[in-house]
């Protein structure tokens, strides 16, 4: 009896510790690489406050607890959530199968009323870019516990990534009323921004910044603010925000990525390349490799360009071997630097799964590079349906319009792209300027 009591107490303590941390600080769960590339604000997967230092300790505690108490369903669910979190923090995909196994175990032990495990499954599915499954898991978890913070966060992310913006807005409002906090604030800001309401988004983020104390939270929110400033070409504010983030967490890769972008925009290519080299040596994500390749391309260093793109090709081959559906970033990379047919195939596959503005933009661009500009312009207009202001989207649209001979529309779109953020890409901004001049200048 006494033993059981001790066990129960330790167990619930461990759970409370991690759940508290994970829920309070739950990050946005999508991996916003294409958006970063497009220079738009992040849905960064980043991580709220479960700072790099505290999570491993919590995981170790839970592992020990579960070795002693392997029938504790809630403990398994918590560990699953912690693994997903850790995978995001360290970008270490080893944790995904572990999380899967652990959450399965939890659901085996407690097949009903296990909202924690379902929310964990949702977060895992979202981390693996299966947003439809994430939404289903979140909905199932919410029928058990309508106030669950994690399930609400997963649901919002899934709706946003699936392109169901009005439902996402409603979900955000409800979550904000039920559980206001940094994870919800950042999601509110992103949904507002996708509707072009950037000023409101900024106010929400500043409010979040005021309540952020944990270094992980500070880095996360400051980076989002930086992205917002970057998207309108405000280099000075963006620089300040990224530096704030990096002071809070020097290993915060999304802030490093943002700072590299600002450095390149200021013309300091050497420093930008240094940042990007350290980024790809730490985490060779296709988006980071492509960005470095584009910097080299802007410098005319063809050899190095090829090397970076070869590594991107490698990751695409591996993703295919793993049965991972080629996604948004494959489509964008292939459209600009690789095989055009692959680009279209990847974009179409992604479009069949979800209908976010990012996917519309990628499909539009993939159609354009394949010479199918009639279909492309329809997609590009779809991408603008929410009022989202993104320089890369505008550039894509302008180039499609130019190819179709819609001269005045093309001039308007290209000028808008350059007005919004004249530095949106070290490689493409000059092309936008050239195209605009070629069309006879600003309207």
């Amino acid at each position: 009896m006494r033993r059981a009591l001790t066990v129960a107490v330790t167990g619930s303590l461990a759970i409370a510790l991690v759940l508290g941390a994970a829920v309070a600080l739950g990050p946005r769960s999508s991996q916003g690489t294409s958006r970063e590339r497009a220079g738009a604000p992040v849905t960064a997967e980043a991580v709220g406050g479960l700072a790099t230092a505290t999570l491993p300790a919590a995981i170790a505690g839970l592992q020990g607890h579960l070795r002693a108490q392997p029938r504790d369903a809630a403990g398994w669910a918590t560990l699953g959530v912690a693994y997903v979190e850790q995978a995001r923090l360290s970008a270490d995909p080893t944790y995904y199968p572990k999380a899967q196994g652990v959450l399965d175990r939890s659901l085996q032990l407690a097949p009903t009323d296990n909202d924690a495990a379902l929310a964990g499954m949702g977060a895992l599915a979202a981390a693996r870019h299966d947003f439809a499954a994430a939404l289903q898991f979140a909905d199932r978890a919410l029928t058990i516990n309508p106030y669950g913070s994690r399930e609400n966060a997963v649901r919002i992310d899934a709706l946003v990534e699936l392109g169901r913006y009005s439902e996402a807005m409603a979900a955000v409002r409800r979550a904000d009323a039920a559980q206001p906090g940094i994870p919800i604030f950042t999601r509110v800001a992103y949904v507002l921004e996708l509707q072009g309401r950037t000023a409101e988004a900024e106010r929400v983020l500043e409010r979040a910044m005021e309540s952020a104390t944990d270094p992980g939270d500070v880095a996360y929110v400051a980076t989002q603010l930086g992205e917002l400033a970057w998207s309108r070409g405000d280099l000075r504010t963006a620089w300040r925000d990224y530096q704030t983030a990096l002071r809070a967490d020097p290993a915060y890769l999304l802030a490093l990525d943002g700072r590299a972008r600002v450095l390149a925009a200021r013309g300091d290519l050497a420093a930008a390349i240094r940042d990007r080299q350290s980024l790809v040596s730490r985490l060779p994500l296709p988006a980071y490799l492509t960005a470095l390749g584009e910097l080299y391309e802007a410098q005319g260093r063809k050899d190095q360009v090829r090397q970076q793109y070869d590594v991107v090709d490698t990751s695409i081959r591996i993703a295919r071997a793993n049965g991972v559906t080629t996604d948004l970033e494959t489509a964008l990379f292939a459209a600009d630097h690789g095989d055009r047919a692959t680009a279209l195939r990847a974009a179409r596959a992604e479009r069949a799964r979800r209908d976010s503005v990012q996917v519309d933009d990628a499909l539009a661009w993939a159609l354009h590079v394949n010479g199918r500009d009639r279909e492309a312009i329809a997609q590009a207009r779809q991408a603008a349906r929410t009022g989202y202001r993104n320089a890369m989207f505008l550039y894509h649209r302008g180039m499609i319009e130019r190819a179709l001979g819609l001269r005045s529309e093309a001039r308007r779109s290209l000028a808008a792209a350059l007005d919004l953020n004249p530095y949106f890409s070290p490689l493409l901004a000059p092309r936008a300027r050239a195209a605009l001049a070629d069309l006879g200048g600003r309207p």
Partner: protein, 504 residues
């Protein structure tokens, strides 16, 4: 209705045997695919990972670091431009060696080592890199560096610290530490590698990838020399076909820790003998053959058993000594290649012996029908055995085959003892080991021969009638033939089993 059903043709019943065969074939196919797939499976720690291991050995005067890196597919692709310096799209041996030297120099530079707070520089002593097949036809890289830092005069209580400053990347980071003629008074890292030097990563759900980047050790001079680590030192691990069982491991460890007193020495010899005897009982060795052989010979004399045992012991000891010598001289390739060939040779020898036995027993059943072999025990009708030919020869051949393949655990014992600086003791232990081996084999033979006699007696007792006599006669004729055929089959099986490893 049921009758009609029962009368209906059931094609699946007809082909049940076929189905069973098909299932077997599928299972075999699946096994092969699984084997082939091990090479192509995803990297257990993800395609991004760069995994690092530092195995520290503190010895008087220097700190040796066995630095290993395991690069998954994407980091390997990132490293490729640095390897393929002539840009011909492939990595030649020279290019790989050059890259290994540069990468090891970088790794040595990443290691911050200090003795009692004073920084000591690290130097690269050896560097090798190998490409392995990874996923999607892409290569992965394995880098091994021998790094050494001079430790001028560590005192009792000296503190050695090491920090691996390599950039933070996703992946396994592991450090281990052991002493060699030095004792670790305190260490914040384990002695043994959880991943077997990045060869196999634990996969259970309740383990976290290792993330050890620094180590602090307090040492004092003195202590046992580091025994040749089982499967760890470059060399032994590759030489031995995953042999040394836990028992042997424990035994070697025991020898390594003790001072050699006469009493302990005697005990060790006895234990080695017992290990040898046990080893002969483990599956997959020559016992079955010996047993079949014994059955085919019927009763045997003590001298034959002795000859068999002596041959096994001598052959085995000689084999182990040769292998040990090769390991000691640092040649790792020759023994690794030799063991499968020895297995093939042993199998062939057994098959040849079996064939001569078969021929002989066939000839015997052919023209020896007039002889009556069912004498009571104790009598020996030499005339009836004369046409069996030179049996001493086949016994020796059998013993030779039985002792030909050196048992890995014996090699471990030998190498362990040699590492202690007591090679002669190791030789004695191996001799004892072989004796134990021979004892078991001989015992099996005697038992089998004995039970054969017992069976024969039973038959004699029951079979005073004509029918019993007939059964007995048939049995005495067919059993040796069947047993000899079994010996041939087993020998061929052994040879065939060794062949793929020998060729590939």
């Amino acid at each position: 209705m049921s009758r009609r059903l029962a009368r209906q043709p059931r094609p699946w019943a007809v082909s049940r045997r076929l189905v069973r065969r098909l299932v077997l074939a599928l299972a075999l196919g699946a096994a092969f695919v699984a084997l082939a797939a091990t090479a192509a499976a995803a990297h257990p720690l993800g395609n991004f990972s760069v995994n690092r291991y530092d195995g520290l050995v503190v010895s008087p005067g220097e700190l040796r670091v066995d630095h290993v890196q395991d690069l998954a597919e994407i980091p390997t692709a990132q490293a490729k431009p640095g390897i393929d310096t002539d840009r011909d799209g492939s990595a030649s041996a020279a290019e790989l060696a050059g890259w290994a030297r540069r990468a090891c120099a970088r790794s040595a530079g990443d290691l911050a080592i200090s003795l009692d707070g004073r920084a000591v520089p690290a130097a690269v002593r050896s560097a090798t890199a190998q490409l392995h097949a990874g996923q999607a036809g892409l290569p992965t890289l394995r880098l091994e560096c021998g790094i050494v830092a001079e430790l001028p005069g560590p005192r009792a209580g000296s503190v050695i610290e090491l920090r691996d400053r390599a950039p933070v990347q996703p992946g396994w980071r592991e450090i281990t530490a052991r002493g060699d003629r030095m004792t670790l008074l305190a260490s914040d890292v384990p002695r043994a590698s959880r991943s077997d030097r990045l060869a196999s990563y634990p996969r259970d759900m309740l383990s976290t990838p290792a993330d050890q980047r620094e180590a602090a050790l307090r040492v004092r001079p003195g202590g046992p020399p580091l025994r040749a680590p089982v499967g760890r030192a470059p060399g032994v691990g590759q030489v031995l076909p995953r042999g040394a069982d836990r028992l042997t491991d424990a035994f070697t460890a025991l020898i390594a820790r003790r001072e050699l007193t006469p009493g302990f020495g005697a005990l060790a010899v006895v234990v080695a003998m017992a290990l040898g005897a046990l080893h002969a009982l483990a599956p997959g060795h020559g016992k079955t053959i010996m047993a079949a052989y014994a059955a085919s010979r019927g009763r045997r004399s003590r001298r034959e058993v002795l000859a068999l045992g002596a041959t096994v012991t001598l052959t085995h000891t000689a084999g182990v000594l040769t292998l040990g010598l090769l390991v000691a001289t640092g040649s790792t390739l020759a023994p690794a290649a030799a063991i499968p060939w020895l297995a093939v040779a042993s199998g062939t020898l057994v098959a040849v012996t079996g064939l001569t036995l078969l021929r002989r027993s066939l000839r015997r059943t052919g023209h020896a029908s007039g002889h009556d072999h069912d004498h009571g025990s104790g009598h020996d009708h030499r005339h009836s055995h004369r046409n069996e030919g030179p049996r001493r020869g086949s016994v020796v051949l059998m013993g030779f085959a039985g002792g030909l393949v050196p048992s890995p655990s014996a090699v471990v014992v030998l190498v362990g003892a040699t590492a202690l600086g007591q090679a002669w003791f190791g030789v004695a232990l191996v001799l004892a080991y072989g004796t134990g081996l021979a004892l078991t084999l001989a015992l099996v033979g005697v038992l089998l021969a004995g039970s054969g006699q017992w069976l024969a007696r039973r038959m004699l007792w029951t079979g005073s009638s004509g029918a019993g006599r007939w059964i007995r006669r048939v049995a005495t004729r067919t059993v040796p033939v069947g047993a000899a055929a079994l010996v041939v089959a087993l020998g061929l099986g052994l040879a065939l089993r060794g062949l793929p490893a020998a060729l590939g």
